[in-house]
Symmetry: C2
Subunit: 235 residues, 2 copies
Amino acid sequence: MKGTLYGLGIGPGDPELITLKALRILRRTSVLAYPAPEAGESLARGIVAGHLDGHHREVCIRMPMVAARFPAQEVYDRAAVELGGHLDAGRDVAVLCEGDPFFYGSFMYMFGRMAAHHAVEVVPGVSSLMACAATLGAPLAARNDVLTVLPATLSSDLLERRIREVDAVAVIKVGRHLQKVRAVIEAMGLIANARYVERATMENEKILPLADVDEDEVPYFSMILLHARGDAWNV
Amino acid sequence: MKGTLYGLGIGPGDPELITLKALRILRRTSVLAYPAPEAGESLARGIVAGHLDGHHREVCIRMPMVAARFPAQEVYDRAAVELGGHLDAGRDVAVLCEGDPFFYGSFMYMFGRMAAHHAVEVVPGVSSLMACAATLGAPLAARNDVLTVLPATLSSDLLERRIREVDAVAVIKVGRHLQKVRAVIEAMGLIANARYVERATMENEKILPLADVDEDEVPYFSMILLHARGDAWNV
């Protein structure tokens, strides 16, 4: 019997926002894999640390801190071989995924490499998108609203066109693109509607009107939410 | 001491996809409210039924089966008065929300009526968007993808324009709009990329290529996922 690879959505950061299903599968798998920076602790492992009893073999997938794409691809290639070995030996493997595995997550890269050759099951999780809205106390979208998710990496021009067309916008992965995104939103006269959230549901979460963020650069785990009407429930 | 109103995201349908936090709050609130059709059982209550021990006072918010907006508004007005009475008497109230409370949910209407006068806390949940992707085994969006959520109520013209502009699309609340949405996707030559999901993670879930759905009308809890590249992980 071969093992199953589980992509486990473990939620946005608050350890209580894991699902019963993810927790059950976490407890009964024998191999635990998670992403981590080149040096230092894994955020994903930290989220579930309170539920670990030491029985897992752990595979830490360390990402080099470079913008280039190829080193990352090599890391995923090697991880796929290592996890594939466990599966072939009949061991179930849980891959921890912050938020939801299929919403812009790095699990995609493992999935793309392994789904054709192994049994893979994805357990959906509470994503950062919903966590940010809950933290802000501001609905994302209602009724006939069109909601668009925009990676902050896009050009100013493209950001502006997409924001203009829809009712509700979430700009994700803000990081070092903060100034560009803010300039677009300001020029469109929408800055009063835009709110900034950093590390939603984590202990060090931070929420601010976008106009009041004074850093040049913010964490990668940050998001800007914006509604054309000001608030989604003003229908 | 006044009570707190909790908007509890209870996930997309599988009772195991509730979070530890929603379950903890559910157990310690004394009043439980949930939406239901004009006649028959509440889907939301059914999701958590296995966790109920009979200690709650229950408030069933029954929605008349009419398209008009005003009867619904009256139902929410009355519910807000009833739940407000419990909060004023110091009782905590949990409002069950399928999926996530702030992602196109009807909790919005209670929130809009009550947030200014009462303490309100929203617990994010696993939304149908992420559940459908997990059920399909198909990532929603990756890297620099733009992802747009389109209510099926929009006009054919608007659906086409929005689908043309982005990488990944989720058409929600398909219901009686199936033929219109499918005609748009077919005319754009994208039908081979489109998958249909009904009641994701529930016992009677159903997934099909969009081209193979042969009903004229489908349930309200259905979704079409579409990626311009075919699959989000083909990056």
